[in-house]
């Protein structure tokens, strides 16, 4: 076994709805090595955000294990869980709703430190806040401003500073740049990357944007209707995609380059909701390469070559 910081095994989250049982996350397993980034990609409703929140127990998982440095987070009591949260943080998508509008930047960044009594001295606490602000590139003069006075990029920097405040080892980035303009998006991506190198952070990077995830991740897991359909290194993922869904997803990205045109694979239909699923491959209905076998059972996630896993009967 390698040095896995986080090991997720058989994670499940079902929601009761009026239409039936919604399989938001259905038997998801993966592990991340220390200091690496796992990209979790998929379209809306594929369960990628729910997976992230279930790992942090912001949503209680229905079943499964989340081993953080060998400790099963799911089994921790509320006191121990609170302590564990220092190690695992999250950066949210929406820089407009993830910061309390009534708190100043100072209060927002200091809150996790105060709450966990990491620093109790007032002067030392403020020094730490300023240090964090500098780390994420926020000017000192902004310390007493409110989030609504700042633009999206700066707000996202506050969110990052807050996540870093307790010196976590692991951060879930839930679409941290999708609400930002491209030029600001690049600034934030570079910042996250620098922080990772400097602080040895481990990331799960949740996104729907394949070009961003490709740039950012070491490994990529593609999700479809609550399950991982393909998992590989980023290199392998882009050069040798195997699952028909991954192929279609990759070919669907509009590329800002006139010379590098790809043949597009157009998928039929749309993503359905994961309620009352049949015992078949979940992608079968939209798949261009669907055969009879696909409607008769769920394909297991198999290792095709070293580190490259695919859930498709073709392989």
């Amino acid at each position: 076994m390698t040095d896995a910081l986080l090991d997720v095994r058989g994670l499940k989250k079902y929601f009761e709805t009026s239409h039936g049982l919604l399989h938001a996350v259905d038997d998801v397993s993966f592990s991340i090595e220390r200091g690496k980034t796992l990209g979790l990609v998929g379209e809306s409703g594929c369960g990628k955000s729910t997976t992230g929140r279930a790992i942090l127990r912001l949503i209680e998982p229905t079943a499964g294990e989340v081993l953080f440095e060998g400790v099963d987070v799911v089994k921790l009591g509320s006191g121990a869980m609170r302590k564990m949260r220092k190690n695992m943080q999250i950066i949210f998508q929406d820089p407009f709703s993830s910061l309390d509008p009534r708190k100043t930047i100072n209060q927002i960044i200091a809150e996790p430190i105060k709450e966990n009594r990491i620093i109790t001295d007032k002067v030392a606490l403020e020094k730490r806040v300023l240090e964090l602000m500098e780390t994420v590139g926020l000017a000192e003069r902004l310390i007493n401003t409110y989030p609504h006075e700042l633009d999206g990029g700066r707000r996202q920097r506050i969110g990052i500073a807050r996540a870093l405040a307790m010196e976590p080892k692991f951060i879930i980035c839930d679409e941290p740049v999708s609400a930002l303009d491209v030029s600001i998006q690049a600034q934030i991506l570079n910042l996250l990357k620098q922080l990772q190198e400097r602080l040895g952070l481990t990331y799960i990077f949740i996104t729907h944007d394949l070009s961003v995830v490709n740039h950012f991740s070491d490994d990529i897991a593609v999700m479809y209707l609550g399950q991982i359909v393909e998992k590989a290194s980023a290199e392998e993922h882009f050069n040798n995609p195997l699952h028909p869904y991954t192929k279609a997803l990759l070919s669907a990205i509009p590329i800002p380059d006139l010379r590098n045109k790809r043949q597009r694979i157009t998928l039929k239909g749309e993503i359905t909701s994961p309620v009352n699923l049949p015992d078949a491959c979940r992608f079968a209905k939209r798949c261009n390469e669907c055969v009879e076998q696909c409607t008769k059972g769920i394909p297991p996630l198999k290792e095709i070559s070293k580190g490259h896993f695919v859930a498709c009967f073709k392989y």
Partner: protein
């Protein structure tokens, strides 16, 4: 480093940087918008005058001699230089009674709203945050309470508890509690889904603290607006109860009971009812103006 330039001026070890930079509070912004609303400023002006009159009533008039002492020779005098608003059937100066009455009306309005705020916000916030069966139970009880006409309920409460100023406050307070349960629950629900609440949970904050620190402060504006409007309602309700003889016991000069007492003389001495009526109207109007102005100032998007 990052693309953005960092202006680093290292803080002096003695001075806190947070003291150096000016803090622009959200309340200043609200006040700046409220200032531009002429109606709200008029309302605020009236309310301040009424409040000042209520506070300094004992300086202007003597309670014993002007307000409750009966003087039959002076009864039913129309407005004059001596008695600006005339005298009532027991010869008491109506203006003096109105000024002292402001103390009762405002106190009843404010205290009853505080009572309903305490219960309403506690239950409403808890229902909104906890959800599930707990929320269902609370909301169904609220439904039952609000299906009883509030004046009937107040009558029932006063009859059960007995006639006193405090019981009147309780009655009016309880009957307007359902509104606050609803408002607080709706406000909490709209805030509960925000990511900063989730973010507070992610740093290990306890639920009760999240409600106190993050949820309630963000609901406060909606609740304040409702409370202002409800004070006006409470003044009307207490006047109504006093009118029915269930309010402040005589001889205390409550506006509603003044109306009630003047009712018999409405044909020949209408000033007995006109002036207390005007007092109620002006006070309620000022509160409503403030409440509406506050709502626009707090959420400028609602306007236009």
């Amino acid at each position: 480093m990052t693309a953005e330039k960092i202006e680093t001026t290292q803080p002096e070890s003695t001075e806190l940087a947070s003291k150096k930079y000016h803090k622009r509070s959200a309340f200043v912004a609200i006040w700046n918008r409220l200032k531009k609303n002429k109606g709200a400023i008029l309302g605020l002006f009236i309310l301040i005058i009424v409040t000042l009159l209520a506070i300094f009533a004992p300086v202007i008039y003597s309670y014993e001699t002007d307000v409750i002492e009966q003087n039959v020779t002076n009864r039913l005098k129309p407005p004059s230089a001596e008695h600006w608003c005339g005298t009532d059937d027991l010869g008491r100066d109506i203006l003096a009674r109105i000024v002292f009455g402001a103390r009762y009306s405002l106190a009843i309005g404010v205290v009853s709203v505080i009572i309903s705020l305490i219960f309403g916000v506690t239950f409403g916030a808890a229902a909104g945050y906890v959800g599930g069966a707990f929320e269902d139970v609370i909301m169904r009880i609220t439904d039952i309470f609000s299906s009883i006409p509030s004046i009937l309920m107040a009558i029932a409460i006063v009859s059960a508890l007995g006639k006193s100023t405090f019981n009147l406050m309780v009655a009016v307070g309880v009957s307007s509690t359902p509104t606050f349960v609803r408002v607080a629950r709706a406000a909490v629900l709209s805030v509960r889904g925000e990511e900063y609440v989730e973010s507070a949970r992610a740093i290990g904050m306890r639920d009760w603290k999240i409600i106190l620190v993050h949820i309630l402060p963000n609901c406060v504006s909606q609740i304040i607006v409702q409370a202002t409007l409800r004070v006006a309602q409470a003044i009307i309700a207490s006047a109504g109860l006093s009118f029915l003889g269930l309010g402040v016991p005589a001889p205390a000069p409550e506006w509603g009971s003044m109306l009630s007492a003047g009712r018999a003389y409405i044909r020949n001495s209408s000033y007995l009812t006109i002036f207390p009526g005007l007092a109620i109207m002006i006070t309620v109007l000022s509160l409503n103006l403030i409440g509406d102005g506050l709502r626009d100032a707090i959420d400028p998007k609602l306007k236009r």
